[in-house]
Homo-oligomer: 164 residues x 2
DNA sequence: ATCGTTGCAAACGTTTTGCATAAGG
DNA sequence: CCTTATGCAAAACGTTTGCAACGAT
């Protein structure tokens, strides 16, 4: 779940790629943007804006980058193809896109954990379905909800007292 | 895309089913709830809270049902198995669940139209993938994003001037 | 009579905005 | 120097909540 650069050729680092994007749009290389690229790609986990802000180092008691700038920059990362985003429980969740293979997610309704999986067959089926409907696919988002293995076991042991 | 009651046995109307649910939880039959069941099942389209409120008849200039009650009732419909919900562009979107077969969606990034499709093979693949990961499936949500046939044609005619 | 339900207004959490200042090109 | 980027504070957005009045059982 953490191996990167697998099926995808990567010639540039995320930062290089982002700076190319900035250049192509006449935008500027700033310390905040550089810093956020670094932070975002320093670990491969799903995160939302708050989680990112929380783990930013602070200069004094202030965060290194302001909240609005984090939001603005996350949008740019998505535009630039560095990140993908989706919505979960009313928040935007981000994950690596650049240099990371296509995948989908299990979402455990007990522990609220997102787990990745890859399936080439699924992508093929998606493309076939789309072809049949004359729909030009750009991407997709699949989340399978249910109960993960760990939670299944845990609950079974204490004789199922769940509700949700 | 509009045919209902296809693969699913339906012995009760949505209202009957909902009233059974209310009974089972010691909740009450109110005019607002009855009214909203009727509205929600009077047409088979995806909708969000605002769209529902907008199309509610009004008594005078007031809506028949207040906004908080609409939100509360939509939640109950989901609990009762009448509706399913998902998030799109920061809003909760609802669709019929009761008496309506499982399906997924195309989302056109040009016209922002949601279109349904059904695929039994897809569900089987989902189940197989989940089995392999020892994940107990409850449901899933798949949205295939791209450009629908209509928009493809429309755009091609004026030589692609798209960005998104 | 009890207790769930409603509508109102106000709060909520997340994200976005206007604007003055700072800083990249 | 010109223009984009930033941070602040405030607004915006969809949704939820506390509470008093209401209404179903």
């Amino acid at each position: 779940m953490a191996e990167q650069l697998d099926n995808v050729e990567v010639s540039q680092s995320p930062l290089e790629r982002f700076e190319e994007y900035l250049l192509s749009r006449g935008l500027r290389k700033t310390e905040q943007r550089r810093f956020l690229v670094e932070q975002v790609f320093s670990q491969h986990e799903h995160f939302d804006a708050d989680q990112l802000i929380d783990r930013l180092p602070r200069k004094g008691s202030e965060s290194y980058v302001s909240r609005p700038t984090v939001y603005r920059t996350l949008k740019e990362f998505v535009d630039a193809g560095l990140l993908r985003s989706f919505e979960l429980n009313g928040r935007s969740v981000y994950e690596h896109d650049y240099g990371y293979p296509e995948h989908d997610h299990f979402y455990c309704v007990k522990c609220h954990e997102l787990t990745e999986f890859q399936s080439e067959a699924l992508v093929q089926m998606r493309d076939e379905i789309a072809r049949n409907h004359r729909f030009r696919v750009r991407s997709h988002r699949l989340i399978i909800q249910g109960v993960c293995h760990d939670c299944s076991n845990r609950r079974n042991q204490r004789r199922q007292q769940d509700r949700v």
